[in-house]
């Protein structure tokens, strides 16, 4: 029997959805990110307003003082929609878990220098409460923000914070057992060094404007905190007792690098939209910056002694530089 193989080319009638084609100006293949993001959130024909908040629609542009002509300008340079986001995080988690396993099987945690261990536990484990605060704030932005482009990325950042809280918990359990978690919670609630930071985190929960909260949480607090915790303190512990702790902090270190790209791009786009936005963002930045510096200084002291305050200043200066690059006058 003779069989002829023949290629039949079937041209699709449309390359993408109409609303995507309208945005791109032509019917051409769009990225999955665009298809899973643009104009996804409802904007019109809402039914009832919340009885507890009747001045706003369910999704309302007016929930922040930032004004955008098109909220979908705030795209994510990482192009994360649910699929790519979960895949990227699964990869990061695989690597981080492999490091944990390596440290466990080699008994590296037990062999770690004891004085350095005490420092690491006292500094890192209470940060899980800060990360949980970040989780709350990320979800708040996701709840009250406008437009899928920014909202989905805010929720991802919030969920990442929950993951970070879990990694810090795992870190505490591995290096110090359950008592380490109890001690850290006690420090968080009572130790005087932690109270300014705890007050700041709790104050952040009642910031109403979700974009102001974005500036406070994602730009100022995370920017300075991750600089101090995962660069300064990490480097000092590595110098004192080798790179074991650094291995266990891998997720946070990689996450901060990645998320900063998104944060910078959101700030840059929002600031470029109008002078009013630029002024407002700079004003929010200047309001929260001294609070964060004040809150982090005593905490940095726990791990860095007299180098604590200069370390916070260096981390804050790095955030300042990022914001200047994004177009803010800080």
């Amino acid at each position: 029997m003779h069989i002829d193989l023949r290629t039949v080319s079937i041209t699709p009638l449309r390359q993408t959805y109409n609303h995507i084609a309208e945005r791109m100006g032509a019917d051409k293949t769009a990225s999955r990110y665009l298809e899973a993001t643009m104009d996804l959130q409802a904007e019109t024909n809402f039914h009832y307003r919340s009885t507890w908040d009747p001045q706003y629609e369910i999704h309302d542009r007016k929930r922040t003082r930032i004004v955008m002509q098109d909220w979908y300008d705030l795209k994510d340079p990482r192009k994360y929609y649910y699929g790519t986001y979960t895949r990227a995080r699964a990869r990061m988690e695989e690597l981080a878990d492999a490091d944990y396993k390596f440290v466990e099987t080699r008994g590296l945690a037990a062999a770690y220098d004891d004085a350095a261990r005490q420092t690491a536990l006292a500094f890192y484990v209470p940060l899980r409460h800060v990360a949980w605060g970040g989780n709350m704030n990320g979800l708040y932005q996701g709840d009250y923000g406008f437009g899928t482009a920014i909202v989905q990325a805010c929720i991802y950042a919030g969920m990442d914070q929950l993951g970070i809280a879990q990694y810090l918990t795992q870190f505490g359990l591995l290096m110090g057992g359950r008592e380490a978690l109890d001690a850290a919670k006690k420090d968080w609630l009572q130790a005087p060094q932690w109270q300014p930071l705890r007050r700041l985190v709790e104050d952040s929960w009642v910031v109403e404007d979700w974009f102001e909260l974005f500036v406070l949480q994602n730009v100022v607090l995370d920017g300075a905190l991750f600089g101090v915790a995962y660069q300064e303190v990490d480097a000092s512990l590595t110098e004192r007792a080798g790179p074991v702790v650094s291995m266990l902090l891998r997720f946070q270190i990689e996450w901060f690098d990645e998320v900063s790209k998104w944060v910078d791009s959101v700030m840059k786009t929002a600031a470029a939209e109008s002078d009013a936005n630029k002024t407002l963002l700079a004003q929010w930045y200047r309001t929260w910056r001294p609070r964060v510096v004040e809150a982090l200084a005593p905490v940095a002291r726990i791990a860095l002694d007299d180098d604590g305050a200069p370390a916070v200043a260096r981390a804050m200066a790095a955030v300042d530089a990022r914001m200047v690059k994004a177009g803010l006058s800080v």
């Binding site: 290629t7 990482r78 994360y80």
Partner: protein, 88 residues
């Protein structure tokens, strides 16, 4: 005029690569074949890592194009930042 070309399997990853090629090489044209995209350019075509990274939204190693590569024609000049096809 001699044409250089590169053909990639048609999927989400190579869509970003093709977009990057079209952005960096104004004379390049993409031809959609079944399950494959063939990009032609006169004399020279360059794939830049930085542009692909912008399109794809993550760090990209130019070696990754081999995962989706079907065929190509032209002399290859490869660095960490650029993958160039040309007849020069």
């Amino acid at each position: 005029m001699a044409t250089v070309f590169i053909a990639l399997q048609k999927n989400e990853e190579s869509r970003a690569i093709v977009d990057a090629i079209l952005a960096d090489n104004p004379q390049a044209t993409a031809n959609n074949e079944p399950a494959m995209v063939k990009v032609d350019a006169p004399e020279r075509m360059v794939i830049r890592r930085e542009t692909v990274e912008q399109e794809i939204g993550r760090d990209f190693d130019l070696q990754e194009i081999h995962v989706n590569l079907v065929t190509l024609s032209g002399n290859v000049d490869q660095t960490d930042d650029e993958f160039t096809l040309s007849w020069v």
